[in-house]
């Protein structure tokens, strides 16, 4: 493993490379540098007023903080699912549609243009949260009990989710006029920073506390790395895998609240479209192995914002939204190629050779 002669140099490099958080930070740095060179207006933040007359900050960086929030929230759940099950949940976009639809159904009932909400937003959120967790539990059961590969198990909900979402509201598109509902995806009057960012921050705090004061981290990693051995250490791998899917379900509900609040309505086929790709990408960009096992939560969350930064940057350079996936796909491929063990081995061999040649001279 050790590279040999130029120990000092390689050690420094090794340490930098080894720290997982280096990967998303480096990616972020490259993106920032690119923007700085290409067009520094990327960094401009202006204070303005929105249509309701409240002060808001705007600018590309604020867009990233704002739109990256849902992604960061999903990345939390996705990281846990990845760690424990060694696969990814590709149904999160569809699940957001379901949770969002449930939220609207709870708030509006059968009336699609309600003047008053049928229940407090908080209660409706709890209901949608339970529904999302139930669907998470369904995915989790397929994966943990029936031992179906996560991506294929979640394919079921991926296929059916948006249809179920439409069915919940009988294919109507309710619109909520209550301004308070818009706060979650917009701005709270008087606070110029977008609310989603606060929600994401709250989720990050919660997960940090959970990881610190419970064994969730240790257990999910142990199960993800070696299921059989975890079982012999008294863990219940089936339950832990299932649990991570339920937690992801809760994250989905929070993301759905923001998404629906942004529009005060829903579009079943478009809401949170392709977000699963971004969420998986965030986990991968965070340097977490997609095959499960060890994870670094902070790294994933930063990864999520970097992905959003990439999206925003591409938008800024007038890439049409439909063409966006092509660019992201290239990034994904580059990312996985350079993190592939085969490629890494080859590269370290080359470095070794170069070093030994230097040593010989």
């Amino acid at each position: 493993m050790s590279i040999g002669k130029n120990r000092n140099v390689t050690d420094i490099f090794g340490k930098l490379f080894k720290n997982q958080i280096f990967i998303p930070l480096a990616a972020m740095f490259i993106l920032l540098l690119f923007n700085l060179v290409a067009d520094p207006s990327f960094f401009k933040i202006t204070m303005g007023y929105n249509s309701a007359g409240n002060p808001v900050l705007s600018g590309y960086l604020m867009t990233i903080l704002d739109n990256g929030s849902e992604l960061a929230i999903l990345a939390i759940g996705m990281t846990l699912v990845t760690a424990a099950s060694g696969g990814q949940d590709i149904s999160v976009g569809a699940a957001i549609a379901i949770a969002g639809s449930t939220l609207l159904r709870a708030l509006c009932g059968t009336n699609t243009r309600p003047d008053t909400l049928r229940m407090p937003i908080f209660v409706a959120f709890i209901i949608s949260c339970l529904v999302a967790m139930a669907f998470g539990a369904f995915n989790g059961a397929l994966v943990s009990i029936f031992k179906i590969q996560p991506m294929v198990a979640t394919l079921i909900l991926y296929t059916a989710g948006r249809s179920i979402a439409a069915w919940i509201n009988n294919n109507e598109l309710p619109i909520i006029s209550e301004p308070k509902f818009g706060y979650y995806g917009g701005f709270i009057p008087g606070i110029p920073i977008p609310t989603p960012f606060f929600i994401a921050a709250a989720m990050v705090v919660i997960i940090t506390l959970v990881l610190k004061f419970t064994n969730l981290g240790l257990y999910t990693q142990a199960v993800g790395i070696n299921e059989s051995s975890s079982r012999l250490n008294g863990l219940n791998p089936v339950f832990i895998k299932w649990l991570t899917f339920v937690i992801l379900g809760a994250c989905v509900a929070v993301a759905a609240l923001i998404k629906v609040s942004r529009l005060s309505s829903i579009n079943y086929s478009v809401i949170a479209k392709d977000i699963e790709m971004d969420a998986i990408l965030a986990v991968a960009l965070g340097g977490n192995a997609l095959g499960g096992g060890k994870f670094n939560m902070a790294s994933s969350i930063i990864g999520a914002f970097v992905i959003q930064m990439l999206t925003t940057t591409l938008f800024k350079f007038q890439v049409p939204s439909d063409a966006l996936p092509a660019y992201k796909a290239v990034v994904v491929i580059l990312l996985v190629v350079f993190s592939a063990p085969v490629v890494r081995d080859k590269m370290s061999q080359i470095i070794k050779k170069m070093n030994s040649r230097k040593g010989a001279v």
């Binding site: 064994n215 142990a222 790395i225 070696n226 079982r231 219940n236 060890k294």
Partner: protein, 504 residues
């Protein structure tokens, strides 16, 4: 002499991260001989064979086949050169038919002729008396039959060199004899056979020559008549033989309270893994063991005790009170620890650090909402790293980068940390260096003298004789006898395993 050499390996080196698996090993195989490759677990036999068959690539050295230097980079290369191998673990595809498993990957034809293949396979199976049909799916055959199919494949390939890597471990006597007959026949045809086995009897029955490896180095090559058994064993063990002699069973047996209530007791226990219901007990401070051939059910028994497999019948008592053990956590809460047989699959959690691996079991017992603080965890880890002299760069090193012996010590530390009353050690000495083996055996006796009850399982009977004061003997997934005191001898064990009166 030299022109007889069929295969010769010179100065083979193979390095794994952190381990020098082979150091300058030479090996010569002649035409028409059966050559035993001997050595303890971890001596480098498997590595040498995998180098020879192209699974691993050697780091240094040369391989010559019939006087010509060859390079073997993949199993296909080996096959094309006429080197075929039967491995200890089944390396066939369970989803394919028996015939396909015998023929796949061998010809360069584009088309697969099923009729010809099935006929050929049936003929071969018949001539070797293998109870399988060509069209049967391999996965539906027993393990022994699968092993025989693998041998049939190798035999059918008209190989120059046949490597048998512990092929007999899952075969019964009759099947072994059939195999030997086959080996002699092939030998007559001029095939060179490399035979790896743990059974000394088998070596002296069929082999012509022995090469001994130890710790990745060549000890020597001997004619079978020049090397009596005792010497072979001492060559395999090296100087450590003297070191082992100071471990004695007597001191262990003396402090056991023979009359009192057993610490742990099981009645009519059986699991889904097909072991016949068995009774078992262990007293405080006792070291006992399960012995029997591989596949005799000894591991399955202790797994049933620990709840590692689903228990289907039986009652268990601890300290005289009936308890229920359905899953490992139940056993752990009742003060039972279990070091599993397969360290890689069931023991270590590779990517986690030494520290996390050590605290895992205790942490699980303590509960989900009560994680140890970092300081506590480090304190535990450091304590046991020191106590068991685990060689690791730090407590944060991933366990997978440690050597086998040190990994095993970590797993041992994991269970010691839970302070069990009863510890089950299933093959704790497999695949680790001799020094650590001795350490572990000594530790077992020390723990027992401090009052811990231990069940110890090892494939190496002398290890069991050294540590255990009572042995439960198993055959065909059934308990067939119990030996203690005077009866604890190699011969007696062998004869009990072989089946009562047939002993020589």
């Amino acid at each position: 002499m030299a022109n007889e050499a069929l295969l010769s390996l010179r100065g083979i080196d193979k390095v794994f991260p952190g381990v020098m698996a082979l150091m300058g090993v030479d090996f010569t195989l002649r035409k028409g001989e059966i050559h035993a490759l001997m050595g303890e677990n971890g001596a480098g036999k498997s590595t040498l064979i995998k180098v020879l068959t192209g699974v691993y690539t050697k780091d240094n050295g040369t391989i010559e086949l019939e006087g010509k230097e060859v390079s073997i980079r993949s199993p296909q290369d080996a096959q094309h050169l006429g080197i075929s191998t039967v491995y200890q673990e089944i390396t066939l595809c369970p989803n394919l038919s028996v015939a396909e498993n015998m023929y796949i990957g061998r010809s360069d034809d584009i088309y697969q002729n099923w009729k010809k293949m099935n006929e050929g396979a049936d003929k071969m199976l018949k001539s070797l008396d293998i109870p399988a049909r060509a069209t049967q799916q391999l996965g539906s055959c027993s393990i022994a039959v699968q092993q025989m199919v693998a041998i049939a494949r190798a035999v059918d390939m008209d190989c120059k060199v046949l490597i048998l890597d512990e092929p007999t471990s899952s075969l019964d006597d009759q099947e072994v004899q059939k195999l030997f007959k086959l080996m002699r026949e092939l030998k007559g045809r001029g095939v060179g056979i490399i035979f790896v086995t743990h059974f000394l009897d088998q070596v002296y029955e069929v082999c012509d020559r022995i090469t001994v490896l130890r710790d990745g180095k060549l000890v020597g090559e001997y004619e079978i008549k020049d090397l009596p058994r005792l010497q072979l064993v001492s060559k395999m063990l090296g100087k450590e033989l003297d070191d082992l002699s100071d471990i004695h069973t007597e001191e262990n047996a003396s402090h056991i309270d023979e009359k009192g209530e057993p610490l742990f007791e099981a009645e009519g226990l059986s699991s889904t893994e097909g072991i016949k219901p068995f009774d078992f007990y262990i007293r405080k401070g006792e070291v006992n063991g399960f012995t029997g051939l591989l596949g005799s059910g000894r591991s399955e028994c202790v797994r049933a005790i620990f709840g590692a497999d689903r228990v289907v019948s039986g009652t268990v008592k601890k300290d005289g009170k009936t308890i229920k053990i359905q899953k490992p956590i139940d056993a752990m809460k009742n003060g039972i620890g279990y070091l599993p047989e397969d360290r890689k699959v069931d023991g270590i959690i590779g990517d986690l650090s030494v520290r996390e691996n050590i605290i895992l079991a205790l942490q699980v017992m303590k509960g989900f909402f009560k994680p140890f603080t970092k300081a506590e965890a480090y304190a535990f880890a450091d304590e046991y790293i020191k106590a068991l002299s685990i060689k690791t760069a730090s407590a944060d090193t991933p366990i997978k980068s440690l050597s086998g012996g040190n990994q095993q010590k970590c797993i041992l530390a994991r269970w010691l940390l839970t302070h069990p009353d009863y510890l089950i050690l299933d093959e704790p000495t497999r695949g680790i260096d001799v020094g650590t083996k001795v350490d572990i055996q000594k530790l077992v006796l020390k723990l027992a003298s401090e009052g811990m009850s231990i069940t110890f399982i090892s494939s190496e009977t002398d290890e069991m004789l050294r540590t255990c004061s009572r042995l439960i003997v198993m055959r065909d997934r059934r308990v067939v006898g119990e030996l203690k005191g005077e009866d604890l001898t190699q011969n007696k064990i062998m004869s009990t395993i072989a089946g009562g009166d047939e002993a020589k």
